[in-house]
């Protein structure tokens, strides 16, 4: 009976949460075009750089995004010239008619000096496919479109000057150098994605 309960719990959980992309997975849904703040339609394939792609599930209002997003900009400044494409994706479809509208996204990006793509994920399709659950939620793909790192940006959202572990920057450095990434998976707090129903 106990075993049966555990199995039922696991089945329930699998329905509740789409599993996160496994390391080594190929970049999914790379050709789906999404509306970007520039007014153009952009896919993950378009956003890809010659040496990789950084995907950030994000939004306008989440306090953890607001705490971390200065690093979206500095990471772009550092790694875009090294051939890493960067795209932030807003999958909060439940709020596309309010705080996460395109107009608000454009306003937010301008205020924060976003220097990367910032697109709307209609139907939260990409978030579901990636198994992304929160904002910010990071996925890093190498030049062969394989997932090499997922999780957090670093270990201190609130105080950039107190960061001890620069997980993502280290992962990108190692990816570019062809050396081992460790850790390849990290976790951080964030706002649950407001999925389309």
């Amino acid at each position: 009976m106990k075993q049966y309960s555990k199995i039922m719990l696991l089945i329930t959980m699998s329905f509740l949460w789409a599993k996160e992309l496994e390391l080594g997975s190929t970049l999914p849904l790379s050709e789906i075009k999404m509306a970007d703040i520039s007014g153009k339609d952009v896919s993950l394939k378009d956003a890809k750089g010659e040496n990789g792609l950084l995907v950030i599930f994000s939004c306008n209002m989440c306090p953890w995004v607001i705490a971390w997003e200065d690093r979206y900009v500095s990471l772009t400044n550092e790694f875009k010239p090294q051939g890493v494409g960067i795209i932030a994706i807003n999958s909060n479809e439940k709020q596309f008619d309010s705080v996460d509208s395109m107009e608000e996204m454009q306003k937010h990006a301008k205020e924060l000096g976003y220097n990367f793509y910032y697109t709307m994920d209609q139907g939260s399709k990409l978030a579901r496919e990636f198994g992304a659950t929160r904002t910010p939620h990071i996925y890093l793909f190498d030049q062969n479109d394989k997932l090499v790192y997922r999780g957090a940006i670093d270990d201190n959202a609130r105080k950039p000057d107190k960061v001890e572990q620069t997980y993502l920057a280290d992962a990108i450095d190692n990816m570019l150098a062809g050396t081992k990434i460790d850790p390849t998976v990290t976790k951080a707090l964030g706002c649950g994605i407001k999925f389309a129903k």
């Binding site: 609130r158 951080a188 994605i193």
Partner: protein, 158 residues
């Protein structure tokens, strides 16, 4: 004299702050495991800046009252430590007069220390069986009241 004592007593009660203890995942585990064999346990991870957390909060307080003989509810704030006054003020408004916690550990270690399947998204709720002390149910994000009630009953009977 008795009148003065009564006034002092009222002042003390009126000024009482909710008990918000700093915690790591390990110390939290030590604490809720003391309930095993006596009460089912619900841990709710929340933050004042998390809208769905705030929305479901009064319902959870109500559940704690309804099932007070069989269930211990512990709220664990994910607010930043330098903003813990916000959490204290919110808890006070919600009438939470029992021990609650605030995270005092790096995210990665804390989240993994609570449950391997928790991604870090808020709110997060997890229930432990009254007799077994084992995980009975857990979920991220908003859930309807019925889901909570069902999980609480399952935890009480586990």
């Amino acid at each position: 004299m008795n009148r003065y004592l009564l006034i002092i007593f009222i002042l003390i009660i009126g000024c009482e702050q909710p008990d918000l203890q700093h915690t790591t995942a390990a110390t939290l585990q030590d604490f809720y495991q003391l309930e095993k064999g006596q009460n089912a346990v619900m841990l709710n991870f929340w933050a004042t800046s998390c809208e769905p957390c705030v929305a479901e909060f009064p319902m959870i307080v109500e559940l704690a009252e309804i099932y007070e003989n069989d269930l211990s509810v512990f709220f664990v704030s994910m607010d930043w430590l330098d903003e813990k006054e916000k959490a204290i003020s919110f808890l006070k408004k919600q009438g939470v007069d029992w021990t609650t916690f605030i995270k005092d550990e790096k995210d990665n270690a804390f989240i993994n220390g609570i449950h391997a399947e928790w991604s870090g998204a808020l709110p997060f709720t997890i229930l432990y069986g009254k007799t077994s002390g084992e995980v009975v149910d857990f979920w991220e994000g908003e859930q309807p009241d019925e889901r909570f009630t069902k999980a609480v009953n399952a935890a009480i009977n586990s």
